[in-house]
């Protein structure tokens, strides 16, 4: 078990990486002067991972949608109590979340982190479900699905994904549907657990007021060695084309909200990091409040400061999303496509590019100033197959022609969709 020190050539920040003998990857960042501790224990298992097999399996197993999230809820229960009750004894604030391509269990605290870390490592390695507790959870998650249906931000986003993806499970709500979760039973949960919660498929990240030696000592005590069984996940075949260009839904909202998304081709590791950075700079240029397009739309009254962008990428999906509130989303789409066309034709303005690059660099430096952000950076970069400080380095080497190429090759009209949620006509 060797400690590898990873250092950022750009900011001088550093962290420690250890490949633990149990199979787990561990990232530790000691942050002198800070009081709090943030720890995340995660698995590369999210809502999109519905098809998988082990090295020795002949066939792929297909499981119902929403099972990763269901498992997350159930792991929060021990045989005799709730995990929250355990954290109540240390004062830590514990939580968990499931996203499209990962599930993470986390705590934050400022005291007794050692005990909280033991709790975290222990309960995630100790599944306990019975049919009775599974049945009860179906009701709770059913409520959660209902609640998210009342959230217009959530609806506008998933409606957009449904326009974009034919087969990729990314288009399904992370929690699944009332029908899909009805198919989940205790046996299926155990199967998924032992497949994805193998330490070789997992990572621990911890940052803040900690000692790396102490963290590793606790890991030695608590981690149970796992055999790497050669997990393989696959996704259904997904064409480059979109499903349909537009979708509208009525909900109680004030100003209508929209998502305009471009479906992009997927890639992995360093290639994805580069592409993601180019996409982020391109989208920042397009939503830059100093641009002529922004000024025009603002003067016309069709956008407000909620107009923004997001790069939505993960295992098997990649999209650039422009979103906001607008009384006329079609006008925003028209202006956006015209602006992309103009930049593709005329090239990216070098001055604008340098300014946006600086602004992005500032944002990445800020992240290193915050315990929670650092712990998240460590886990996310591992999940994405890159180093913790690679993003800042990729940014420093990026030039405007790469951004131009991204716009030309990926922000294509035929692969653009628009989702709108509007209030009922009065």
């Amino acid at each position: 078990m060797e400690k590898e020190i990873i250092k950022s050539p750009d900011t001088g920040d550093s962290c420690i990486h250890v490949k633990h003998s149990s199979g787990l990857d561990i990232y530790i960042c000691e942050m002198p002067g800070f009081s709090s501790v943030e720890a995340l224990f995660g698995t590369k298992y999210g809502s999109v991972n519905t098809m998988f097999k082990m090295r020795d399996d002949k066939e792929y197993t297909v499981v119902p949608e929403g099972i990763a999230h269901f498992l997350e809820h159930k792991l929060f229960e021990n045989e005799d109590c709730d995990v929250f009750e355990l954290y109540a004894k240390t004062g830590a604030s514990g939580n968990a979340f499931t996203s499209f391509d990962k599930t993470c269990y986390l705590f934050s605290c400022s005291k007794n982190y050692e005990e909280s870390l033991r709790i975290l490592l222990d309960f995630v390695q100790k599944p306990y479900f019975t049919q009775a507790t599974v049945d009860k959870e179906q009701g709770i998650i059913g409520q959660e699905i209902k609640m998210t249906n009342d959230n217009p931000e959530w609806r506008v986003f998933f409606n957009m994904l449904r326009c974009m993806y034919h087969n990729n499970p990314v288009k399904i709500d992370i929690a699944g549907t009332v029908e899909s979760i009805a198919q989940i039973d205790a046996d299926l949960l155990y199967k998924c657990y032992y497949t994805f919660y193998n330490l070789n498929n997992m990572v621990l990240s911890i940052a803040g007021n900690i000692s790396a030696d102490e963290v590793l000592k606790i890991c030695d005590e608590c981690l149970k060695p796992c055999e790497d069984k050669g997990l393989e996940t696959v996704f259904p075949e997904e064409p480059d084309e979109i499903v349909m260009p537009e979708i509208h839904e009525t909900q109680p909202v004030g100003t209508p909200i929209f998502h305009i998304g471009y479906k992009c081709r997927v890639c992995t590791g360093q290639e994805r990091l580069k592409k993601s950075m180019a996409a982020s700079l391109a989208a920042s240029i397009l939503t830059d409040a100093s641009s002529d397009m922004y000024k025009k739309l603002l003067d016309e009254g069709v956008i407000n400061s909620s107009f923004g962008m997001e790069i939505f990428d993960g295992d098997g999906f990649f999209a650039v999303i422009f979103s906001g509130e607008s009384s006329d989303p079609a006008r925003v789409r028209e202006a956006l496509t015209a602006e992309i066309e103009r930049i593709v034709k005329e090239g990216v303005d070098e001055k604008v590019f340098q300014r946006i690059k600086k602004s992005t660099y500032g944002m990445l430096v800020r992240e290193l100033n915050n315990v929670e952000d650092v712990a998240n950076l460590l886990i996310n970069s591992y999940m994405d197959g890159v180093g913790p400080y690679d993003a800042i380095n990729v940014l420093s080497h990026m030039n405007s022609s790469e951004v131009h190429e991204f716009m030309r090759d990926e922000l294509i009209n035929d692969r653009m969709v628009m989702s709108v949620i509007e209030g009922e006509a009065e």
């Binding site: 002067g33 009081s35 409040a289 500032g362 315990v371």
Partner: protein, 423 residues
Amino acid sequence: MPMRYKRTELAGNIGFSTVIDEKFKTSYIVVRFITALDSKSASANALAISSLSSSSSRYKTLAELNEKLSSLYGAGLTSFAKKRGDVQILGLSASWINNRYAFDGENVTGEMLSLVKECLFSPNAADGAFEADSFKITKKELLDRIDSELNNKRGYALSRAAEIAFHGEPAENPCYGTKETAENVTAEDAYSAYQNILENSQVEIFYVSANEEPVVEKMMTESFAAIRRSPVQVTFRTKSPLRSEPVTESDEFDVRQCKMVMTFKSDSDDIYALKMLNVIFGATPVSKLFFNVREKMSLCYYCASRIMSEKGALMVDSGVERENIEKAKAEIIHQLDEIRKGNVTDEEMQSARLTLDNAVTQVGDTPASYSAWYFERFCDGKIISPEQLFEEYANMTKERVVQAAESLRLDSVYLMLDKEAAE
């Protein structure tokens, strides 16, 4: 070196606090104007403060201002209007990366400080009015924001509950005023509201950085010296009178899940006991509400309490099925009764202390958290350190928590109902 906190008073009754903490890679400044919340001025005040962060005398449009900020490594400049009981808090804040991270060697701190000064003391205005085009955009922004409050159902339900519980008091007003009042504000009104704010509001300035910057205090002293100040002191705590009989009001929307907000009121002055009670009752995942109403009885998807000590009120908000509303309401009251009866275990007391201790110890991990902490204490009327506050909780007794629970009375209930299930 540990952090160094200092608060001084500048001429004109201006509170000036600094925190120097070498671990930070960024600096932060916030200037807060504190004034009574009033339906007549709320919108004009909110528009005045927003006008400061959308342009300035040198950067005459949002585009120009934004260009400047992004060239300074994406520095942030924002304004806000918040409500705290009967008080409106208007603020302008900025944050930026320290000069040593600026790869082109710019003086980011110097540039940002002069920008903040310019936004505050030399806004984009002439002849007694904010510049018309910028003001039009700022106003639309506020109107959109008021409109979009409905998009967040939980937040909307809480606002409606406050409107009902504090009816007839300043706290019934939204912090930005209403759509109608906002629509009527002109660029002249907003500008004159800003002059009034500069002259008559309480001002608290907070600067957090890795390095001492004596220039900040000098800059603020000199800038405010040009203003004839006669600040009006606000009252941060005004207990809301209790209704003789609880009232229930409801709205119907096309939603799938109903919301219920119950407001309780207290006449107790023991704010620390009320805060601790809130933690035990409904502020954590091991609280009585979460554990019983959500987990054990599955009556609500969420059920949590929050304390508004500035009004002596406690709100319980929940997401609930229509058929479970009465059951959930009865169980929430039952759980409060349990505390009133003294059914609070030593473990619950200890766990609440640990929760509060952890929250308190984390203060200082971000520049903004220092500022929020000391400002809260300022509003409480007593500036104490995080350690001193924790002492208060360490010495808390079960008896005081029980008394705090006994002091709570149900005042009003707000229901957001699903339309389709309606008769």
